[in-house]
Symmetry: C2
Subunit: 132 residues, 2 copies
């Protein structure tokens, strides 16, 4: 860390590594229906696949989605409010991470099942479009 | 049974055991996002759980859902149009069956994963409400 994140603001308390300002459901509040709804959109499914592909945390701006910024923000909010991702401010960046542990505890195996199904569909689609 | 279903209609061709009038996506058209959307509603999830609980086919009226008839019809339509269930007229009854084979071929293991997650959530809810 060091001095990174210094923005010259008068109030200089370091940004706490918590989900400041952004409401998250606690684990017990996460509903299967909400998780499935969150993943029922192609863009949100894509975001989750990218988050699952090894990266611990990604800022919203690191996703190159073919939608407007406000739509992107909306998708991240749906993912957060359903309990699929955790969004944390780090300085001015909103960082996103999958809530793997919470989902795994509530619904063992479900996330991997969904990611496998999504990968399968993507592969089928790629083959159909002549990439395979 | 016997003469049940006789409504005195002039045209008496037997109802074909096909999905007459009701549009269904063919297997290749079924999208993961659509399946997840279909299951993202508590009533629809409940319908699917009941269909999965051993019964091959059930008519819409066999489901005792705490919603209006038109809402019930809507839910069944969403399930059909997403490819989760097949609806077939048998006489005047609309019969519903899970498209297990199609879903299994497209997304192996997914349906069972989702049913397991739904059962887990239902059990947790029952325990919380003092049934356990």
């Amino acid at each position: 860390m060091g001095t990174s994140g210094r923005s010259g603001a008068a109030v200089t308390t370091a940004p706490a590594p918590t989900s400041r300002d952004l409401p998250h459901p606690v684990r017990e509040e996460i509903r299967l229906e909400g998780v499935l709804h969150a993943l029922s959109d192609p863009m949100r499914l894509r975001i989750v696949r990218e988050l699952a592909a090894g990266h611990a945390e990604l800022s919203c701006s690191q996703f190159d989605l073919p939608v407007t910024k406000s739509t992107t923000t909306h998708h991240f909010r749906v993912l957060r409010e359903s309990g699929v991702i955790r969004q944390i401010y780090r300085g001015t960046a909103k960082m996103n991470g999958l809530r793997r542990d919470d989902l795994e505890e509530l619904f063992p195996g479900l996330l991997d099942c969904l990611l496998t199904a999504a990968a399968r569909q993507a592969a089928r689609q790629a083959a159909r479009h002549g990439d395979g």
